[in-house]
């Protein structure tokens, strides 16, 4: 196991290096620079800024310099927010996005699994149709509409929850729900189809022939086998959600990481682009690793510690 994880960590470093390199050059290929704006800067000021941030150096020097700094977990200063570094932005925004995202994932997973399992157990009955209508709504309604509808009813009309901001637990409920809606719907559909497939298997008939009740068959025989597709979806999903959502964070005025992904690009804020990309990649690679480990725990046929010598 330790050996497997070490090997995976080495692969992760290689992937990160490739991601950093690709982002670095793609970013430079895009026209404009961090100081391009509608009001043109006087040339001497722009030259001074370029000099200050090292943008006048040859590309290989900038590239090498950047790699060195990233290796020390230093993403450099932001080009737009003059007084803050990229590290500051991430360490301020990420805990908020993480808390919001984790809540949303829990909601999505719990409700999605329940809906999916109910739909599969009552295949082609009203429970199935009901669950799937919820799922279709969840997938097709965009999150900004979901968010405003939730705000309208829960905050404005009934006054149950705060409209926006990020202060107490009460503030977290609406954004978490809005963020959870579409992954929940997706998980529900995934669970349903995978449960239906599992329930048609011979070993479910065997379980039934032992005289086990429907509940026991579902819990002990079906769910574990139906979980694999959901688990594989959880990897990229969690990485996406815990690094923040631009739309939801904007609507609810949440100081998370999500907005930086979008604004840094329109700002050509080189260091922030690089910083959030690397950060996102790390989270993604780690969640994929966790998914692979979870695979091995769920399905004994998948031996992650495998390799040549593996038991």
């Amino acid at each position: 196991m330790a050996k497997y994880i070490t090997r995976r960590l080495i692969y992760m470093v290689v992937s990160l290096y490739l991601i950093v390199t690709a982002t670095f050059f793609l970013m430079r290929l895009a026209p404009g620079n961090p100081f391009t704006s509608e009001k043109k800067l006087p040339p001497e000021i722009e030259a001074a800024l370029n000099e200050h941030f090292g943008l006048n150096d040859p590309w290989y020097a900038q590239y090498g310099d950047y790699l060195l700094r990233i290796a020390q977990w230093d993403f450099g200063p932001s080009f737009k927010y003059k007084t803050r570094t990229v590290n500051d932005l991430i360490s301020e925004g990420f805990p908020v996005s993480l808390a919001l995202g984790a809540q949303a994932i829990l909601i999505a997973l719990a409700l999605g699994l329940i809906l999916g399992i109910i739909a599969a157990l009552y295949h082609n009955k009203w429970q199935d149709y009901g669950a799937m209508i919820i799922a279709v709504l969840g997938i097709s309604v965009p999150s900004f509409i979901m968010a405003t509808v939730l705000q309208y009813f829960f905050a404005i009309k009934w006054g149950l929850l705060p409209v926006a901001r990020w202060d107490s637990f009460m503030h977290t409920i609406l954004p978490s729900l809005a963020l959870a809606a579409s992954p929940m719907a997706f998980i529900a559909r995934l669970t349903r189809s995978s449960m239906l497939e599992v329930l048609a298997n011979d070993y479910i008939r065997t379980a039934k022939s032992k005289g086990l009740s429907k509940g026991v068959i579902t819990v002990k025989h079906a769910i574990r086998n139906a979980l694999l597709p959901v688990v594989s979806y959880m990897g990229p999903l969690s990485a996406g959600i815990i690094t923040g959502s631009f739309v939801i964070e904007r609507i609810f005025g949440i100081p998370g990481l999500g907005s930086h992904f979008v604004t840094s690009i329109s700002n050509r804020d080189y260091t922030v682009i690089m910083g959030v990309t690397v950060f996102y990649s790390i989270i993604l690679l780690v969640s994929i690793l966790l998914v692979d480990i979870a695979y091995g725990l769920i399905d004994p046929r998948i031996k992650i510690a495998g390799g040549k010598k593996g038991e």
């Binding site: 008939r205 065997t206 039934k208 005289g211 026991v216 002990k220 086998n225």
Partner: protein, 355 residues
């Protein structure tokens, strides 16, 4: 001898988009304590549906028991609810399925899969159920059961998995074991071992067995009595000797003639029954086998044949046994094996009203 199971006039249908498939049509048979009944027939003849209906394992809907009774120890189980059936399945009646590769849960330890039934039906504690599971694995001939009990199905070979299936089925000491082609997916040497094992366990536990197969070699090996199914009906039933040495139904003749034998010289071709099984959405009017039957007479296409009794235990559903029918010769391969059995009546007797 005591009857453990009586199936009376059982009809089972499936509702499909193409219409109602009458998979089982007015089937009657009995099973005695400690006896092995083999049900033979080609694919789609209704043998699996019949036996899965006995455990009520067919999906309902689309499946439906249209008529009939299934008396298990004298009690009809057709009206029982799913909840009530849970007390019958695994405890009174168990089943071994055809494909051991897919019939075991891949993510559950073998031991656990044996223990489940024990914990449910015999209120055993986990530890005593585990001991019993180890004992069962040893009984079905799995070496090192203490270690094997903690392994997953993918760590077992095909034959080992079928042994494990047998251990699961027999763990709670059922009175009736249904084996649905238990050796079809296994290679020949393993087949023989599994059959030997089942016979051995049957004599130890005095279980009654219904053995579904399309392999007549297996039938000769294990069965006391045979029921031949065709088109959702039982067309001939009798003791093994009666079916093998004095078959009366032309379908049984076809089955026997198409069995490869060492006595066949290499010039004679292996016989086959031409044609395909009848469409059970729309069962033929007369004898279901008429269209493929080289001996078919006009009446076979018009009216369903009645049941004739050839001996105390031998019944066949064919017009050929009617006093007015012309005498016909069975195929050579069958004729060669025909013997005069002492129990045979002088003349086939028409059975009035079903059985």
């Amino acid at each position: 001898m005591e009857k453990i199971l009586e199936v009376k006039d059982l009809s089972v249908s499936f509702q499909t988009y193409g219409g109602e498939v009458q998979a089982v049509r007015n089937v009657n048979f009995d099973l005695y304590k400690g006896e092995t009944l083999a049900i033979v027939g080609e694919s789609g003849s209704g043998k699996s549906v019949t036996t899965q209906t006995i455990m009520k394992l067919i999906p309902m809907p689309p499946g439906k028991i249209k008529s009939g009774q299934i008396l298990f120890e004298g009690k009809d189980i057709v009206p029982l609810s799913d909840k009530q059936m849970e007390k019958v399945r695994g405890k009174e009646i168990s089943m071994i399925f055809q494909d051991p590769m897919t019939s075991l849960n891949p993510t559950m330890k073998i031991g656990r899969q044996i223990m489940e039934g024990l914990i449910k039906h015999q209120n055993m504690s986990t530890s005593s159920a585990k001991e019993r599971a180890i004992e069962m694995l040893r009984l079905v001939g799995i070496p090192m059961p203490e270690r094997r009990v903690n392994q997953y199905p993918h760590e077992f070979s095909g034959g080992m998995r079928q042994r494990a299936m047998i251990a699961i089925a027999l763990a709670a000491n059922p009175k009736l074991l249904i084996a649905d082609e238990p050796t079809t997916a296994l290679d020949v040497t393993i087949q023989a071992q599994i059959l030997e094992l089942m016979k051995d366990l049957q004599s130890k536990m005095n279980t009654s067995i219904i053995f579904i197969t399309h392999d007549l070699g297996v039938v000769a090996n294990v069965a006391d009595r045979v029921a031949v199914m065709y088109g959702g009906q039982i067309v001939e039933t009798g003791t093994v000797d009666e079916i093998f040495y004095d078959p009366r139904h032309p379908y049984t003749w076809g089955l026997l003639a198409s069995m490869p034998s060492l006595e066949n010289d290499d010039k004679s071709e292996l016989a086959a029954i031409p044609g395909t099984p009848p469409d059970l959405t729309n069962p033929p009017k007369g004898d279901a086998f008429a269209a493929r039957n080289p001996y078919a007479m006009q009446i076979d296409f018009e009216e369903e044949p009645p049941l004739f009794q050839i001996s105390e235990t031998h019944f066949a559903k064919t017009w050929l046994l009617h006093p007015d029918a012309p005498a016909v010769e069975p195929p050579d391969a069958v004729k060669r094996r025909m013997r005069k059995l002492s129990s045979t009546f002088d003349k086939p007797v028409l059975v009035k009203g079903g059985k």
